[in-house]
């Protein structure tokens, strides 16, 4: 079964809007939560990551919010641009073991 549940499957926003992607997990041993960005024909690339000792992390226009008690985390893309149109994957791992990925969200930013 999928260890990380991701929603929505796809979303469309206007340029400047804030797409929000949500992920939920059950395994309380997970302690590393990265997000990956994938463009067509390319492999996923690490975008930003968070550990459970912080509730929020920002890198440029990308923000992760983390709610340990609810076992949920989300990605916000501030001031979204057409170049942000891509598929985004959340993931989680326990220790240095393998990553379990969500099903992915296709984000389209319209100019």
């Amino acid at each position: 079964q999928q260890q990380v549940k991701q929603s929505p499957q796809s979303l469309i926003v206007q340029k400047g809007g804030i797409p929000i992607i949500n992920c939920a997990y059950e395994n309380t041993a997970f302690d590393y939560f990265p997000w990956y960005q994938q463009f067509p024909g390319k492999g996923p690339a690490l975008l930003i990551a968070i550990r459970p000792d912080v509730s929020e992390k920002k890198e440029g226009r990308f923000t992760i919010s983390f709610n340990k008690s609810a076992k949920q985390f989300s990605l916000h893309i501030m001031d979204s641009q057409p170049g942000d149109s891509a598929t985004y994957f959340c993931a989680a791992s326990s220790g240095d073991y393998k990553l379990s990925f969500g099903a992915g969200t296709t984000v389209t930013v319209r100019a």
Partner: protein, 114 residues
């Protein structure tokens, strides 16, 4: 090398044939992973190599799939007697020590079984 290199980038094969997919990880990365991505789907874990430890093969979908990693570097994923449902993009990733350091993915091999 500068990144994870996978070859071939595209492979078309006839049903029933065997295929070999190659992954050249970043130099010095001890962890290597294979994932499969079907059209419009997420990433399905296949196998994980970490240093000299026995690989985690728990994600391999059938005994037609096997992988090896020689000298702690290059890895080869072999699919025997390919089936149409094996058509997918096969992604390789490497990591400095493990998942907690983030993966670097290659661009993948797109396998089409006709």
């Amino acid at each position: 090398g500068a990144g994870v290199s996978q070859s071939p980038s595209n492979k078309v094969t006839e049903k029933g044939k065997d295929v070999e997919l190659r992954c050249d990880p970043i130099s010095g990365h001890t962890a290597l992973y294979w994932y499969r991505q079907s059209l419009g789907q997420g990433l399905e874990f296949l196998i994980y190599f970490q240093g000299n430890s026995a690989p985690d093969k728990s994600g391999l979908p059938s005994d037609r799939f096997s992988a090896e990693r020689t000298g702690g570097s290059v890895s080869t994923l072999t699919i025997q007697r390919t089936q149409q449902e094996d058509s997918a993009v096969y992604l390789c990733a490497s990591s400095r020590q493990g998942a907690g350091y983030g993966y670097t993915f290659g661009s993948g091999t797109r396998l089409t079984v006709v």
